[in-house]
Amino acid sequence: MASNASHIRNICIIAHVDHGKSTLADRLIQQCNLVSDREFRDQILDTMDIERERGITIKSNSVTLPYKGADGQDYLINLIDTPGHADFSYEVSRVLASCEGALLLVDAGQGVQAQTVANLFKAMEHNLEIIPVINKIDLATADIEGTREQIDEELGLPTEDALLCSAKTGKGVEQILEAVIKRIPAPAGDLEAPLKALVFDAIYTPFRGVVVGFRIMDGTIRPGDAIRFMSNNVVYTVMEVGWSQIKQVPRDSMSVGEVGYLIAGIRTLADVRIGDTMTHDQNPTAEGLPGFAPVKPMVFSSIYPMSASDYDDLAVAIERYALNDAALVYTKDSSIGLGLGFRCGFLGALHLDVVQQRIEEEHGISLVLTAPSVVYRILLSNGEVVEVDNPSYYPDPARIESVEEPFVRASIITPEQSIGAVMTLCMNARATNPRTHYIGRKRLQVEVDLPLAEVIYHFYENLKQITQGYGSLDYTLLDYRTSQIVKLDILVNGERLDALSQLTHESKARATAMYACERLEETIPRQNFKIALQGAIGGTIIARRTINALRKDVTAKCYGGDVSRKRKLLEKQKAGKKRMKMVGQVSVPQEAFVAVLKAPGN
């Protein structure tokens, strides 16, 4: 099949989580007979277990679909799958930049959601041709007319353009493919110009090294070419290029408009940055593609193994995980209570979740994570500005002029009946500048400015809970604002537990401190003396609990049959005590740290 740009269509699917993106992708793949029914499995593009399990795509992935149109012509439709969460909005934007059109998928039962809106606007910024698709029309709860209205009123798209489909049953899939070749423009670009290809994905594989996902904007690429990554000027020789058709299909050359994979013996993901431009080393293009930005972690937390003996395994696990996730940054860390671990930077709260879950599940290591922190900007009295994401490096308050914290603009869509609870949630999260308006008859969109620190702290879970799962959230980083940030320390008989220190807003400090003291009260065993548990900001105590001295622990009976059982208990107790951390005179079990760091219930 000739690769002719006029017969190429590059599309992505944008949708809210659960609106059926992966299922639609599956149907499109089957409709084009790319895999036999025997080889087919659900969510075929989601390569990671966690993606299948959670229904969230966290990596971009592409597939080249051969399609014979109703006009009798052969087309190649490149479908690029996008990550489905706000944490990965940069990756999404790079995929959008690789496409000419998008299928905007809306669940006929749930209607337009926050991510649908956010992603639509992003797609429009990239001048993509949008085809609205109403999915799940086979559901009993489907409200096709209502969804049409939402597409018209909330998204401002012409409803007569909307297609109907059931990705589950396959109904309407043929019409979608026809609409793609008719309505979405073929890629433009200059075949004769120097190579200019956009990197939208990179995956590390043990045998072939890094596999780069790219879209050619200008020029041609062939095996044997010396190509240069423009952001860091590293040069590799192309070993193989080709189409991703579930399996890799090598090509002799690829040119303008094509989407595919590249292998060049690249051993480290660090060399390949999402959004970078590839060009020929000898005949480079003058300028890289716009929109490139190096990844910048937004959320930091220290990760410790639950059992100190797992530290070496954790080190291996993190190193291995990072092979395939250039967004994760990490350095060694240690704390009095939790021993050796790693300080890690993540794109956001979901990214943190994903990393934690994959390390725990794939390597069988239980982890403890410290309270996540954002990056604070601290203006010192000498005029210097420092960025701090770790309470351990918080400067002496006497030297601090002011502190700024990152804010996001959040968009929340909620059913009408939950608006009160949503407003309360936002207010408790220190929201400012709220604007509310109806979208459709029974739903509202709330736009607010929120400190990122609040968004990463169970905000999404709480939103889901108070809206019975119907609320949705999207956010983008806005700016840094001056804020009353304090460093909260937790003390046990006057000794600081470093793993429990955190940077927090002044208004939250007391409740946070009280929560920590109460959990410690429940988990630190009584000892021969009274134990004071305190939350402190500098020298000021803002919360206090007391563990009374142990006055009696002796069991009532100890006769012939009880002696060895008693001794074994004591052996256990002694072994347990050995694992406790001595904080001053107080033995603190690791469970105490874990209890404080576990998410508080609502």
């Binding site: 021969n528 009374n548 006055r551 009696k552 100890c558 012939g560 049959g561 060895s564 208990l569």
Partner: protein, 400 residues
């Protein structure tokens, strides 16, 4: 250096304690986690036959200073079976003339005939399961008798000539205050004038009906501070009434009325146990019988000991047991014994812990002994953990 087993007397001349476990009762009390249940028809005779076989298997030419028949409810067994058991033990061991022979009994079983037959068979000490001094407490505990039943039973016991009587009580029931505890103890002493009192704080053991009720939230056990207050009150009240608290839960009107048999456990002496779940200890070897009556009888029918497991204590384990048992008793433990038995020089190894504990008022360091104070006895479990040798964590050989 080799370590003896605490005495220069040859092992076959060292006195033994004997314990017989009767695994039957009329009905299971809600707090009870002992190996005991109402018997099926034929169970009792089957058990006694097996028990006689076990006695023959364990027979040894050693002097016996104490014999204790517990359970379960031995008095429920019927006098003929009890006498058969005593006869078996007398033929298999050398019971000393002054051997303390105790039988546990429920008030309802103490008839004139039973008491007379017991006396005649040489039983010289009774431990009566009175348990509560308020009818509401007896109902809560699931006991079959009333206070009036208990008073009448003890009167019959005295009339039968028993002059060494122990009464078992349970304190610290849900809702008990230290005032109620004081009342209960005063009332018990006035009603029975016993030579010995065992006052157990109610324990909520997994697997009991009480534990289920607590899990379901129907019963709320006293909190740690109330428990501690009741413990102190129990000791102070008993002390005031003339009973010395010589162990965590045990009180005697005179030193002579201490339970000799139980003291043997607490001073790490040798004992043999018979019946399901019974433990035997021939320092440094310990073994335990199966808790299943069926397996117990079956093993003995095959002529095998019904043991479910055994262990051989390491020096560190023996030292630990001497410490943990000793700290439960007013007499504490002997430093010399610790040194002889296990080569542990406590004063050197744990000097600073001992000094701290003494200044906290938990124990006294005497020339050759460590004696806990009442405050120390109350935290004996933690104290024992602190004083136990570090080598304890190296473990010993346990064969299950």
């Amino acid at each position: 250096m080799t370590h003896g087993t605490g005495s220069d007397i040859p092992s076959d001349e060292r006195a033994l304690g004997l314990y017989v476990h009767v695994p039957f009762c009329r009905s299971k009390c809600r707090y009870c986690d002992f190996c005991s249940r109402p018997p099926a028809p034929g169970d009792m005779d089957h058990f006694v036959r097996a028990l006689e076989a076990e006695i023959r298997l364990r027979a040894a030419d050693r002097p016996v200073r104490t014999l204790y028949v517990g359970g379960g409810t031995p008095s429920f067994l019927g006098i003929a079976r009890l006498i058969a058991i005593l006869r078996g033990l007398r033929s298999a061991f050398r019971l000393q003339l002054d051997c303390e022979i105790t039988v546990e009994a429920n008030p309802c079983d103490l008839t004139g005939d039973w008491l007379a037959a017991c006396r005649a068979a040489g039983v010289n000490r009774l431990s009566v399961g009175v348990q509560g001094m308020r009818d509401e407490d007896l109902r809560f505990l699931g006991r079959a008798h009333t206070i009036a039943d208990a008073v009448a039973a003890v009167q019959r016991t005295r009339a039968a000539g028993f002059d060494n009587l122990g009464i078992d009580l349970i304190v610290g029931l849900p809702g008990h205050t230290f005032g109620i505890t004081e009342e209960i103890l005063t009332h018990a002493v006035a009603a029975f004038a016993p030579e010995h009192l065992s006052c157990y704080q109610l324990t909520c053991a997994p697997g009991t009906a009480l534990h289920d009720a607590v899990e379901r939230g129907e019963v709320r056990m006293p909190d740690a501070d109330t428990e501690a207050a009741i413990f102190m009150t129990t000791h102070q009240t008993c002390g005031g009434l003339g009973y010395e608290g010589y162990e965590v839960s045990n009180f005697a009107r005179m030193k002579a009325f201490r339970s000799q048999h139980n003291c043997a456990y607490w001073t790490h002496r040798d004992y043999l146990g018979f019946g399901p779940s019974a433990h035997s200890f021939l320092n440094p070897a310990r073994s335990w019988n199966t808790t299943s009556l069926r397996e117990y009888c079956a093993s003995l029918e095959r002529g095998e000991l019904p043991e479910a497991g055994k262990e051989r204590l390491t020096d560190a384990q023996r030292a630990t047991e001497i410490i943990l048992l000793g700290l439960r008793t007013r007499d504490g433990f002997s430093l010399e014994e610790l040194q002889n038995a296990c080569g542990m020089d406590l004063l050197t190894e744990k000097g600073s812990i001992l000094a701290h504990a003494e200044s906290d008022g938990l124990l006294h360091r005497k020339a050759r002994r460590i004696e806990p104070t009442l405050k120390g006895m109350a935290v004996a479990d933690q104290l024992a953990g602190d004083l136990a040798p570090e080598a304890l964590l190296d473990g010993g050989d346990i064969v299950e």
